[in-house]
């Protein structure tokens, strides 16, 4: 039978929760930076690495992680660090703002003050505004050296929040499955592909992990009871109770945005249909009634509609229905195979896959105009798109590189593709809220 083992990282996460409350988040100056510049132009920032004797590798990793987070977000352009040597250290007259501006750091720079002692990090980040020549904000965080990347991500999210009014995604995680022989096991990693850790050791097939909106639980599909069923575990890999209707197939779990409902597929009534489990009452209701395949439900962010795949016309296409199962209507009309719908967090778009010239490509439909845009190209398959919580990125599985499947992210416009996993083939990613 399946053994779910807690991973070191989940214990580390708990430790993080305990130690990473801001030790002292003081505003040293009035906030004047909370404005996004118009025109989508990236904010040009500098992030120099301080010299810290004996712990330079740790400090380098922390600052580089913040640089990567800010670049990834798309809001910032990190100015080439090799130019920072042209800027002298602050002296009695304060920060050399003109020097920063002269190397292209037109908007802001971050000074890190990092102390490492007794296996603990004490970090202060000060954000300076170049135009106003002033300190905008400062944050101080502590944590064990093991959690250096989480400390860095926390700073990144605060910097993004400061400029956009919305928290960044640097603290989010991606769940996925990884191939073990003919089986697959569930894994977690940070959103940037770092700190990969295994969640299941079941020795069977596991697929389609789906984060609960609060990030504390994962519903997923497993054969550990010899046929595919939807199960629930916490982020330590411990099995939790989930009263689905069962059947010889249950699959494709998807949460409502408030976490109170779980949509999934079951054949308990003799054919694959979509069911909705109300987690507060434990009651299941059947939503679809059709002899064809109905699967891959995705509950809209406003909780009122469900996108799903059905072959009721003979080919798989995307449909919408109300959460009561009424008002079913087809929304994908191009091609012969459209599947795997995923709502953007604001509900304005639906990502899905479409088979074009024999391979799967990721498409996005504008839900108001129903206009579709193709995001991926090339010879490989691109599958299972899922949105980042801020809607600015998508994570997906692709075998574009030498035929092996790996997890990739890209911006919501299809640009800036980044490969997150290497080694074992990886599939069915889902991005935590």
């Amino acid at each position: 039978m399946q053994r779910h083992q807690p991973t070191r990282s989940t214990i580390a996460l708990l430790a993080l929760a305990l130690f990473m409350a801001p030790a002292a988040a003081q505003d040293e100056d009035p906030d004047i930076g909370g404005v996004i510049r118009g025109g989508g132009e990236a904010i040009k920032v500098g992030l120099p690495v301080p010299t810290v004797a004996g712990h330079q590798a740790t400090v380098d990793e922390i600052v580089q992680t913040v640089r990567d987070d800010l670049s990834f977000s798309g809001w910032f352009q990190v100015v080439d660090p090799s130019l920072y040597r042209l800027v002298q250290s602050p002296d009695s007259k304060g920060e050399p703002f003109e020097a920063w501006e002269s190397i292209g750091v037109e908007d802001a720079f971050v000074r890190f003050d990092i102390k490492v002692a007794d296996n603990r990090i004490d970090l202060t980040a000060r954000l300076y505004d170049v135009k106003s020549k002033s300190l905008i904000r400062a944050w101080r965080y502590g944590g064990s050296v093991d959690l250096r990347r989480r400390v860095a991500h926390t700073v990144s999210d605060q910097i993004v929040l400061n400029y956009t009014g919305r928290k960044g995604v640097a603290m989010t995680r991606i769940a996925f499955v990884s191939k073990h022989g003919e089986n697959k096991e569930v894994y977690l990693m940070d959103y940037d592909g770092a700190r990969v850790r295994r969640l299941t050791t079941s020795g069977t097939i596991n697929l389609s992990p789906a984060w609960s909106p609060d990030g504390s639980e994962l519903a997923w599909v497993s054969w550990h009871k010899r046929q595919p069923g939807v199960f629930l575990m916490n982020t330590e890999g411990e099995l939790l109770n989930l009263p689905t209707v069962g059947g010889e197939l249950s699959s494709a779990p998807d949460w409502s945005p408030d976490g109170t409902k779980l949509a999934y597929t079951s054949d308990v009534d003799g054919n694959s249909e979509i069911y909705l489990l109300d987690r507060t009452t434990g009651k299941n209701s059947r939503l679809t009634r059709h002899g064809g395949i109905d699967t891959a439900p995705a509950i809209s962010p406003n909780g009122r509609e469900i996108a799903f795949t059905s072959d009721r016309t003979g080919r798989p296409h995307i449909y919408l229905m109300g959460v009561d199962g009424l008002d079913v209507r087809r929304i994908s009309w191009d091609g012969t195979y459209n599947e795997s719908p995923a709502w953007s967090p604001d509900g304005s778009k639906l990502a899905y896959v479409s088979r074009l010239e024999g391979v799967f490509q990721i498409m996005v439909m504008d839900m108001e105009t129903k206009k579709t845009t193709r995001l991926t190209y090339g010879l490989g398959n691109n599958e299972n798109p899922r949105w980042s919580p801020d809607g600015r990125h998508l994570v997906f599985a692709s075998n574009r590189g030498n035929g092996r499947y790996a997890i990739y992210t890209m911006r919501a416009d299809g640009s800036q593709t980044r490969q997150l996993t290497t080694g074992r083939d990886a599939y069915t990613p889902d991005w935590s809220r």
Partner: protein, 183 residues
């Protein structure tokens, strides 16, 4: 009737003739009944020439039912195949299922699982439902033919267990299948 009567009369007459003088000549004596003596054992038969041979055991036909592995290796139940993206049963597929039904009726008492499989050219989640459809369609047709008392369940593996891991038309055709397995 008359014959049996005349025999009885004759016997009576004989008894009277034989018995009378004995009764008359000898006085009645109370004598103990003669002790029955065992007859002396007959002499042993002359020895005959016997070959000195170990006794041969009697052959008993012991029936050991075949193991699940042996049943599955024997190829009693044949795999059926499907068209691309389809789960309806072709004529070939129906003919094979008929043969499988014949075998199951002739060999009652088995439990089988019908596994539905897909080729890799679908999405993982949709293929799970497609595999379920293939297994279910196969089971329904088998049940409509009658499969004796066979206990049948289905399971879908989607594209997770290809018969041939290659990525070409020949492999895909082998992978779009429903397999019958004893369990």
């Amino acid at each position: 009737m008359s014959q049996r009567k005349s025999i009885l009369v004759l016997l009576l007459a004989v008894a009277m003739i034989v018995g009378f003088p004995a009764c008359k000549s000898k006085p009645i004596e109370e004598t103990p009944p003669p002790v029955e003596r065992e007859a002396p054992p007959p002499p042993p038969p002359p020895p005959t020439e016997v070959e000195d041979k170990d006794p041969e055991p009697i052959k008993i036909e012991e029936y050991t039912p075949p193991t699940i592995q042996e049943l599955n290796a024997a190829g009693h139940l044949r795999t059926v195949y499907f068209d691309f993206d389809k789960y309806d049963l072709t004529e070939t597929t129906r003919a094979t299922i008929r043969q499988n039904a014949d075998w199951l009726r002739a060999n009652p008492g088995h439990s089988i699982v019908i596994e539905g499989h897909c080729d890799e050219r679908g999405t993982i989640e949709y293929n799970l439902a497609l595999g379920e459809k293939r297994a279910n369609a196969t089971r329904e047709f088998l049940n409509s033919l009658g499969a004796g008392d066979t206990n049948i369940r289905i399971v879908t593996f989607g594209e997770e267990r290809p018969a041939d891991p290659a990525s070409n038309e020949a492999a895909w055709a082998k992978n779009r299948r429903a397999e019958f397995k004893f369990e």
